[in-house]
Amino acid sequence: MDRLTGIKRFAGVLVGGALLLFTTGAISETAVTEGSKAAGLDTCVAPTADIRRNHMDYLKHDRDLTVRKGIRETQYSLAECVECHAEKDDSGAYKPVNAEGQFCSSCHNYVAVSLSCFQCHRKTPELKSGSDTAMNQGGDFNVESLGLLQSLDKPVSLSRDELVRLHATVKGD
């Protein structure tokens, strides 16, 4: 069962990737919105390809640490996604990350995954001075090929090693 979902997901990523490469212009190369904090950063809390593939597992893992064990400063946190990826509108107010065309919804709509996080979680950063949590630098990945703003001229090229690491959970289950 688990293995099947893993394989399916992996297949999904491949198909999605292929689609992305073949479609020019119709889909932007990155879901990162201009005017969000993330647009000004070199990398996410982990290499982009890793986050794309595994963010749901990371978030689920760390939410349990936080809720059940009271461990707050985890590497992955939904609050931090919102903090970085919310875009400001012209008046300087934040747009909800799950609003049409915004960071979370643009991908989830594309892959037809319904997003229920924000039935309960706040959709915009709270207006207070910035927090410094959870912005750890990623490991020794090649930032060039795994950066946030990937382009079609420079498609992602992964060594076998990197691929294994990115898909560690697939292999394991």
Partner: protein, 257 residues
């Protein structure tokens, strides 16, 4: 692992310590996620402490609602909007309330006392016993709370709680605080300001508000630390658990009732 005792088991802690060291040294196997927790709250809730409260009902003023207001603000309860067209009565009955003021009158003498009533953070919480999903749980440090990710909204826990401490969210919620997620279909209750405590604060929002208004009726602290203010007060004053007959060993206790 025993659920009933929240005394720290030193052997187990020692063992865990060693395991963690071993795990860090080992190569991480595929399929195992390893995330890095930063130093400040790396250890999370510890069973070496048990959070509790001592409330002096003599100091709790009639008509004051500072603690209730502070709680509503701290936990984003005041952000909730009344659904359109809902009657006052329904709204007041259904909106969440983590702490409420209760007035007691002694039938014989007519003596009136006021007290704030919230989740009593039972050592043996009935709300945890009845929860079919494990969503209602007690943290290592004695805080009882609901994990909304697994709560199915059956409300068994609301029935089981002798203190009427829990609320159900009946409506869609448009805005929440980052630290206090809330949505339709889950149960919630006082969590002793777990977010503040985890961040290293030593007081709850209600205690701060009560002190600010000059009443000093609420004392929050570690029941297990003999040097804490609350442990000392409990040692010298006569305090009561509400419905002590249920033997839940509540973490919230009251003097002068």
């Amino acid at each position: 692992m025993s659920c009933n005792s929240d005394q720290p088991d030193m052997n187990r802690r020692g063992f865990l310590g060693k395991t963690v060291v071993a795990a860090t040294a080992a190569v991480v196997a595929p399929g195992i996620m390893l995330t890095v927790a930063k130093a400040s709250s790396e250890e999370g809730a510890s069973s070496a402490v048990r959070w509790g409260m001592l409330i002096d009902t003599n100091k709790c003023a009639d008509g004051c609602s500072a603690c209730v207001d502070a709680c509503n603000k701290e936990n984003g309860i005041d952000l909730m909007q009344r659904p359109e067209g809902q009657a006052d009565e329904m709204w007041n009955a259904q909106r969440p309330q983590w702490v409420r003021k209760v007035k007691l009158r002694d039938k014989q003498t007519g003596e009136v006392s006021n007290l704030p009533m919230m989740c009593q953070h039972c050592e043996h919480p009935p709300c945890v016993d009845v929860c079919p999903t494990g969503a209602s749980f007690k943290r290592a440090d004695g805080i009882v709370m609901v994990d909304r990710h697994t709560c199915i909204g059956c409300r068994y826990c609301m029935m089981a709680c002798p203190y009427k401490a829990r609320s159900f969210i009946h409506q869609d919620v448009a805005e929440q605080l980052t630290g206090a997620p809330r949505g339709k279909g889950c149960v919630e209750s006082c969590n002793l300001c777990a977010g503040r405590i985890d961040a290293g604060n030593s007081t709850t929002a209600c205690q701060d508000a009560c002190n600010r208004d000059g009443h000093q009726a609420i004392l929050f602290g570690d029941l297990k630390n003999p040097d804490s203010e609350i442990a000392k007060a409990l040692k010298t004053e006569s305090s009561h658990q509400i419905r002590a007959d249920l033997e839940l060993n509540t973490g919230v206790r009251y003097t002068n009732i």
